[in-house]
């Protein structure tokens, strides 16, 4: 089945294979650089996320692609849609801000450390949920800036289904990657 391809592979020679591998690596590296560069500019760890659940319907559906930014000196407002990640939880959540409490002088709030000016306590809720997110906070009473990954600025419907499919069926991802990698190595210039 693969005899032709194997022959082609032999004809190419060692240096050519090395070159292809190098090119392949450079493509991967440039992709990573763009991703991390975008992360630096937008100040979030992941500037593009895919919606996995229906808790923000009808605003966002499963498979929508969201673009996030997180300017360091901008406070969050009620009505903003934020993506947050609670320590210990493995997936980030995208929900709307319902309460903000901005601290302007040092204040002690029961159940929390001393809060200093500039800090903000946040409560979120999914548009499609009846109650706020306190039960999702894993023991925390409020969200704080450090928990928030970014603020949703724009969105693109459906596109994220590609990644959802790849996540749900990892075999698909490996098959696709393997096939493409093999073809890239075998193909002649």
């Amino acid at each position: 089945m693969f005899t032709e391809e194997l022959k082609a592979f032999r004809r190419l020679g060692f240096r050519h294979v090395l070159l292809q591998v190098l090119n392949f690596a450079s493509v991967i590296a440039s992709g990573l650089m763009i991703w991390k560069g975008m992360g630096l500019i937008t100040n979030t760890e992941s500037p593009i996320v895919v919606v996995l659940s229906g808790s923000m319907e009808p605003a966002f559906y499963r498979g929508d692609l969201l673009f996030l930014t997180n300017p360091p000196n901008e406070r969050y407002h009620t009505g903003d849609i934020t993506v947050y990640k609670i320590p210990g939880a493995d997936i980030p959540i995208v929900h709307r801000v319902m309460e903000t409490h901005d601290v302007s002088s040092p204040v002690k709030i029961s159940g929390l450390d001393l809060k200093v000016p500039g800090e903000q306590l946040i409560l979120t809720k999914g548009d499609n949920n009846h109650i706020d997110d306190i039960d999702l906070y894993q023991g925390l009473d409020w969200l704080e800036r450090k928990h928030i990954v970014g603020k949703v600025r724009g969105f693109l419907p459906y596109v994220g289904y590609v990644t959802i499919a790849m996540n749900d069926f990892p075999q698909l991802k490996y098959a696709l990657l393997g096939l493409l990698g093999l073809l890239a190595l075998i193909q002649r210039e």
Partner: protein, 230 residues
């Protein structure tokens, strides 16, 4: 023979479009890479032969370029439209003094001071519904500063509007949907503000593009009316 020439010209056409939209192809590369199908780029570099994969790649590249260009055009067009014809929104809120008394909040064991609203609100938000409006998220929020210097904004009522027919908001004698209590559960009588402002805000969500925020109505200095019992 004839068919192959047709194919050739089609590919030429694709190539020309490709070279014209270099900025878009940069965007496309970005999107591709973000999906970790970076390998398409390998094809782009190594397939000068017009193999099956080159064609698949060219067609998909053309498709994604065109889609990206279209989406960008839609985004810019709707932003321009809003800049040239800013939507005229009128709204009004009226409210009785906000009653404060001890009550049990949902999922709380102990009683604490909670505030209860009784408000009327009218607003015409139909100008916000354009060809690129998916939904509006309306929220009535309270804004006040308490004695500890904490600036609070709390959403007390919200509504999602999905059709222009529903965009004329008329709410009479409504109560707050969500619990209104002081941070830390200390209560309004112990050093909270004596009054608060209330504003009707909207969040416009387009089919494609950038989320927008705005204010439709506002009422200032509504006093808290702290009572011992109901």
């Amino acid at each position: 023979m004839r068919e192959s020439t047709v194919h050739q010209t089609r590919l030429m056409f694709i190539w020309r479009l490709e070279s014209r939209v270099t900025v878009m192809s940069a965007c496309r590369a970005l999107i591709h890479l973000s999906f970790l199908d970076a390998n398409f780029q390998v094809f782009l570099r190594f397939h000068t032969m017009h193999s099956f994969f080159t064609r698949v790649n060219n067609v998909s590249a053309l498709l994604s370029s065109c889609t990206m260009a279209l989406l960008a055009a839609i985004t810019i067009a709707s932003l321009l439209q809003e800049a040239i014809y800013p939507p005229q929104i009128h709204g009004q809120i009226s409210m009785k003094p906000v009653k404060v008394f001890n009550a049990k909040a949902p999922r709380q064991r102990r009683k604490q001071e909670m505030a209860f609203l009784n408000f009327n609100m009218t607003a015409d938000l139909t100008p916000l519904f354009t060809w690129n409006t998916k939904q509006l998220f309306l929220s009535l929020e309270a804004e006040y500063e308490n004695a500890q210097g904490v600036n609070n904004t709390v959403v007390l009522w919200d509504r999602i509007v999905r059709r222009p027919e529903d965009a004329r908001v008329r709410v009479i004698g409504a109560k707050n949907k969500y619990a209104f209590k002081e941070i830390g559960g200390k209560g309004f009588s112990k050093g909270a503000a004596t009054n608060a402002s209330y504003a009707l805000k909207y969040n416009l969500m387009p089919y494609v593009g950038v989320l927008r925020y705005g204010e439709a109505a506002r009422i200032s200095d509504v006093p808290f009316d702290v009572r011992e019992e109901l």
